[in-house]
Symmetry: C2
Subunit: 401 residues, 2 copies
């Protein structure tokens, strides 16, 4: 536990403050590494996804601190089946990560998080929102969660409602009506807490006692926009305000765009309720399309500039025209849950096949036998453990007979 | 010229009053037969299309008067490659046509037409709107035209603008703006002269000095709806009010539905501007789709019942969402003209191939050699004649060398 030269006690205290005390030494080290990575790599950094997914967050962080050469990285990554990574790619990635290797900053973000009752959620956590993993190498490395919600499996029945900040009365009205209808149908509402459509969606979800999740582009310790302070505080009281960025990190233009990919990836369907011709919500829509998630757009008067982006989505980008909560629920009744469940079940089968009943096997061995990335193996073992189908021993994992 | 036992003079006088005096005896007989058929068969009568298309309107009328047996019809039709026609089909068709074999009524509709300066247009006429022939056996047998327009080739650059009678201010505003934009781009506007959207389209076309065509569900001697008397009179002054029904025929529910197929078939694209969930304009939209013509729908507020049909067309029936004249023009920039031109050119080639430079050949001979229906041969000869590529002799037609 010599990471960053910190003492075990320092690391354990900081990590437990944001993740509870059910983790063993290795678990704590991994969580600490995830926390560090979430501040080292910018959101959506493909190479960070590759190295963390291949060797694990902890090993990747240690390697970074140890100053592995590009060749060493290439050799290591070539074992894990992530495809070709050039020396230039890994070299430039290490160059952009190195300036952020700052132990004080990691500890500060953790203690900051603890002060705001922010939890650190990682893919190993059973409450992790599995659909975001479909972002693959662009998936968030961790999520910082502020709020009451602690199991993000709710997103398997969710709709992202997004749209213009400069919403019209029509747009806000339709957003509220749609939100109420979706909440009645048991859907969680995901949005970005911006003024206009986002705010209307969150507000209507709260008013109808639904679950709502706000995804921010900066640390969840500081609410943005500040004019939505009261709204975000209310979301914390019943739902969750989340971010892939650690506390203390400000939102940037890039982070807003990357935040949109999380909104899309968290939700079974994304619906744009009002959007100008060049609205940022078209970016969220683009992410939903790239993920193969259903995309809906609400039409409006063609005389309203605030609906031009919605019409564009329908005409040129294959969005489904939706006219209310019924349509939106139908749209979200796609096969995402089935796909995720299927993939999960396939991964579970592969991990179980890679386990023995008598001899304990370490994660790396299971990864090699199953053909899954170590991080995925850890995630699947977590679920199997909860279901009491595997047992952890000092030397690794065994399958219960 | 013993049709109906009328004298030659009677027939010639009546026909010339609605079609000018450039027709020879056979031409007059054919026109008279088309006029008669347009009153004998209800709009869209498939069997009427089959028999007229196969043996020609004049022969078909004579056969009907002569009381051909079903077997005789079958034998005759089997030569002309229209596919199988059962004895029951032809029998029941003859049964529904027989009660309408009324020479007085044909003469009355012709003199009525003459009084209102209505012209009789048939597929042989160079001004015939060729795109309606894509309705094949459901094509109109004749068109009665009241107005200034005498060459319907203008429809090769036209858009049908249709919609609800119960239009909103938004719908009428959008219709007018769109119409003006289309007229500026050189499009003719086709519609049904109904209250609401149709009326707004015609009115805006007139106001912007565009060409507009109103298609009625009854004879053009009596304007419907009567509240649009002044509007229809203005359309007559610059464009055309047309119907496939002869003068004196009232509109019926069936005729309204069939009228919609003419609106769709006349236009390169059909756009629905406002329509309730069960609006009659969805019927026009259905005809456009069946014809493979581009179909557009203008969105509106989802809170407006008058836009529900438009949204339905986009979501469930593959209509393109259009937001203004630019979109509509693009939609109409489809390949209808090209398709029609191609087909025409193919037919011309076949007819020219079937002609000789020295020996004159009658239409039936040309039809047999070219594999085209006699009616089509006559239509193609008409065009070739205008282009001075063929010459008519007493014994038939020759190709100019």
């Amino acid at each position: 536990m010599s990471v960053f030269g910190l003492t075990d006690a320092e690391v354990i205290a900081h990590v437990r403050a944001v993740s509870g005390d059910q983790h063993d030494a290795r678990g704590v080290r991994r969580l600490f590494a995830r926390a560090a990575w979430s501040g080292i790599a910018e959101p959506g950094d493909r190479m960070a996804g590759v190295v963390v997914g291949s060797v694990g967050a902890d090993v990747a962080l240690e390697a970074l601190l140890a100053g592995w050469s590009a060749e060493r990285w290439q050799a290591e990554l070539s074992h894990s089946g992530v495809g070709t990574v050039t020396a230039a790619e890994i070299g430039s990635a290490v160059d952009r990560w190195a300036p952020r290797l700052n132990s004080a900053q990691v500890l500060r973000s953790l203690s900051h998080a603890a002060r705001f009752a922010v939890r650190l959620l990682t893919p190993e956590d059973p409450g992790w929102p599995v659909p975001v993993d479909e972002l693959s190498v662009h998936a968030p490395l961790a999520l910082w969660v502020r709020g009451r919600l602690d199991d993000f499996q709710v997103v398997e029945r969710s709709v992202a409602l997004v749209g213009a900040r400069a919403a019209t009365g029509y747009g806000e009205h339709v957003t509220m009506e749609s939100t109420v209808g979706l909440v009645e149908r048991g859907f969680a509402i995901v949005s970005g807490a911006a003024y206009g459509i986002d705010g209307a969606a969150h507000r209507a979800a709260l008013a109808s006692h639904g679950t709502t999740i706000a995804v921010l582009a900066g640390g969840v310790d500081r609410f943005y926009p500040s004019g939505h302070d009261a709204l975000l505080t209310r979301i914390v009281d019943s739902g969750a305000v989340i971010s892939e960025l650690p506390c203390g990190q400000p939102p940037t233009r890039w982070r807003f765009l990357q935040r949109n990919r999380i909104i899309a990836a968290l939700s079974r369907a994304t619906v744009v309720l009002e959007a100008g011709w060049r609205s940022g919500s078209l970016n969220t829509a683009g992410h939903a399309s790239q993920l193969g998630r259903p995309l809906g757009a609400v039409p409006g008067p063609i005389t309203s500039a605030a609906s031009a982006g919605c019409h564009r989505l329908v005409r040129d980008y294959g969005a489904t025209l939706v006219t209310g909560a019924g349509d939106m629920a139908e749209l979200a009744g796609d096969t995402v849950t089935e796909r995720v469940t299927e993939r999960r079940s396939a991964e579970q089968t592969r991990v179980l096949d890679a386990l023995a009943v008598r001899s304990a096997r370490p994660v790396d061995d299971i990864a090699a036998r199953s053909g899954l990335a170590p991080a995925d193996v850890v995630a699947v073992l977590g679920v199997l453990h909860l279901e009491e189908r595997v047992v952890e021993h000092p030397g690794g994992w065994v399958r219960r007979s």
